[in-house]
């Protein structure tokens, strides 16, 4: 099989963040010493150039909170000079007029602002700080500066019933895109799984609301809605396949095939301080490990639906977490011997207290 070319670089600039969302995709050990040694500007700018050479076109500047990087304007200039289309994925609380204008001048292409709920009080409860009004101001500012605007909301048991308000808010803010991201259970969502898991009834009503909105509003607002994994019978092609479309660079320069790959024991992650990105993509252990189909076990190996190159075996991190083996079939799949564990997780949903994201104290996974 010819080597695939990546199209996306996900740059996790910093794991620091003023918010404490209980489903954050960052690792549980964000407070660890290794992540405090953040990359210098020149490392990132070199990585952007090397990424373009590999075929990358889309750059996500994310975190934590990317606005906490003081060199963000320089990084946007670096992305523009490299020929990348840059997106800022921000909580919005630090997106002030001076900084926003500087980012616009530096060539930032697109702004994505997260909202935890369309209700101010609920937003602030989920985020673990007062942030709703600042987010709304940030969204209006992005529009004033003629940035294309995406609103992102992670959906779960405690906000799914407000989906109609959320759709109307996105329309009111002039968003071109609305990402309705049903929670994926890695990072901080793992210790919060029971508090976050929605019911089938909530999802059904949500999907119907999205359908009605699409018919009413048309292509002016592009709504992304994907049924969460735990309510599927067949797995999704996680990251478009391992080492197939994207690279994730952690704040310390480790390069990962997905956000959560650091949870898989035994994988060696090469660092961009020490290796060219091209080598990391093509040769390094972590990217080669689950690339393609050779690593697959049964039932993937003889998939009765022939989906090996459709879903690529699903999510490795989910397989590890639910079966203890990262090379197992994703138990979302109805052919997995462990599918009952996914069914059990749906049924264990209950309203309980959040474990908030923090860098300060250790958390039991």
């Amino acid at each position: 099989m010819p080597q695939p070319r990546p199209s996306t670089l996900i740059a996790e600039l910093s794991y620091q963040c003023p918010l404490h969302c209980p489903y954050c995709s960052n690792p549980l050990h964000i407070g660890a010493e290794t992540y405090r040694r953040e990359l210098e500007s020149e490392h990132w700018i070199r990585a952007f150039r090397e990424a373009r050479g590999l075929g990358v076109l889309q750059l996500a500047l994310t975190g934590g909170e990317p606005m906490l990087r003081r060199d963000l304007v320089d990084l946007c200039e670096g992305a523009r000079d490299a020929g990348l289309y840059s997106s800022l994925i921000t909580a919005g609380t630090l997106f002030t007029p001076d900084r926003a204008e500087a980012l616009k001048s530096a060539g930032l292409d697109h702004v994505q602002i997260s909202i935890q709920s369309p209700d101010a009080e609920e937003n602030d409860h989920i985020a673990g700080n007062r942030s709703f009004e600042k987010k709304i101001a940030a969204a209006r500012l992005a529009k004033e500066l003629d940035f294309p605007l995406t609103i992102n909301c992670v959906l779960h048991r405690q906000n799914l019933d407000r989906i109609e308000e959320l759709l109307d808010l996105a329309l009111d803010l002039g968003a071109q895109r609305l990402e309705l991201a049903n929670t994926q259970y890695y990072g901080w969502a793992v210790p919060n799984q029971e508090a976050l898991m929605p019911s089938w009834e909530q999802l059904r009503r949500g999907e119907e609301a999205v359908q009605r909105f699409r018919e009413r509003v048309g292509p002016k607002v592009h709504v992304l809605w994907v049924l969460p994994d735990f309510y599927e019978e067949l797995p999704k092609p996680c990251m478009g396949g391992w080492g197939a479309t994207a690279l994730v660079v952690a704040p310390n320069g480790d390069v990962l095939p997905c956000h959560a790959a650091s949870t898989i024991p035994g994988l060696q992650f090469a660092n961009i301080r020490e290796h060219p990105l091209e080598w990391i993509w093509s040769e390094s252990d972590a990217f080669a490990h689950f690339r393609g189909t050779d690593w697959m076990q049964e039932p993937c190996r003889t998939c009765p639906l022939g989906r090996q190159e459709v879903d690529w075996g699903g999510c490795r991190c989910q397989a590890l977490r639910l079966t203890g083996d990262a090379a197992a079939t994703d138990p979302v799949c109805r052919f997995s011997a462990h599918h009952d564990r996914v069914v059990a997780a749906r049924e264990s949903a209950q309203t309980s207290e959040f474990v908030y994201r923090t860098a300060k104290r250790p958390v039991r996974a």
Binding site: S7, G55, L57, Q58, G83, P148, R177, P219
Partner: protein, 87 residues
């Protein structure tokens, strides 16, 4: 569609790694054939559809690309990638 333009934030670019034209949009890449790229370059919010067809006819010995242009611009508008500057 009176005067088509690319939606805010969309950018035409030549990908010199894959050697093809692309339309870059928020978190997406639309691969384009050379003709589609040429049409979209003319969607500047100033020209009408007839102006675009006329400009292409002038370039290609009077060839009538009217149906192709309307088909392409219509399909891009359905996806929200081209909007009407007059709207």
């Amino acid at each position: 569609m009176t005067r088509p333009r690319l939606v805010t934030g969309a950018r035409l670019q030549f990908d010199d790694v894959r050697e093809e034209h692309v339309l870059l949009v928020p978190e997406g890449v639309v691969r384009l054939n050379p003709t589609a790229a040429e049409v979209l370059e003319l969607c500047d919010g100033e020209r009408s559809l007839d102006d675009i067809v006329g400009a292409l006819a002038a370039r290609y010995d009077g060839a009538d690309l009217g149906d192709d242009v309307r088909g392409l611009v219509g399909a891009m508008a359905e996806k929200g990638l081209v909007v009407d500057a007059a709207a």
